[in-house]
């Protein structure tokens, strides 16, 4: 039973990790790439951690897996925000199909 649960969760987790990598490779600009990498890899790593905790099955491993999960859940959005902010202010070009850039629209209205 534990093996079946672990197998399911690991397959789902690695599929999400592969999706994150495919998104990073295929998306058109930095911001969409960052979006794909942070969201899908958090979910994938969470699934892999659940599988490892199930498979090891003692309290210490559960606590360690939970602490990795909590740390990743806390830091990945912060890292994504910091990268997006830095690349926006470093004038990295947006994708040419971008519909709305609110900050640029606001500063154009003030001038």
């Amino acid at each position: 039973m534990t093996d079946i649960l672990t197998a399911t969760v690991w397959l789902v987790g690695s599929a999400f990790a592969l999706l994150a990598a495919a998104g990073v490779l295929r998306m058109p600009d930095v911001f969409t790439r960052m979006q794909a990498s942070t969201k899908a890899s958090t979910l994938g790593l969470g699934c892999l951690l659940i599988g490892a905790a199930l498979q090891l099955g003692d309290f210490g491993s559960l606590i360690r897996a939970a602490s990795i999960g909590a740390f990743v859940l806390l830091t990945t959005p912060v890292a994504g925000h910091v990268i997006a902010r830095a690349s926006y202010f470093a004038d990295v070009p947006l994708w040419k199909g971008t519909v709305l850039d609110e900050r640029r629209a606001d500063s154009a209205r003030e001038h």
Binding site: L25, M34, S37, S61
Partner: protein, 88 residues
Amino acid sequence: MLEVISDTTLVTLGVALVLAFIRLVKGPTLPDRIVAMDLFGMLVVGLIVVLAGSTGVRAMLDAAIVIALIGFLGTVAYATYVERGDPQ
């Protein structure tokens, strides 16, 4: 049966690492490479976690904690560098 599954998982994570590495080489800007390195760190943590689960070596989870921490610090440091300097 679980050996087959864990091998499949490791191979899938390896393919994901290769895709992230292609983005790391192609760029085209420095923030793209930072995103790829960040994903690289996450995938390596996943690899170590799966290895810990399938081999039963619990000490690998501690290594995964350290790599997650260093990856986050590295990403923030690179982003600070991009915000101050020239992105090209």
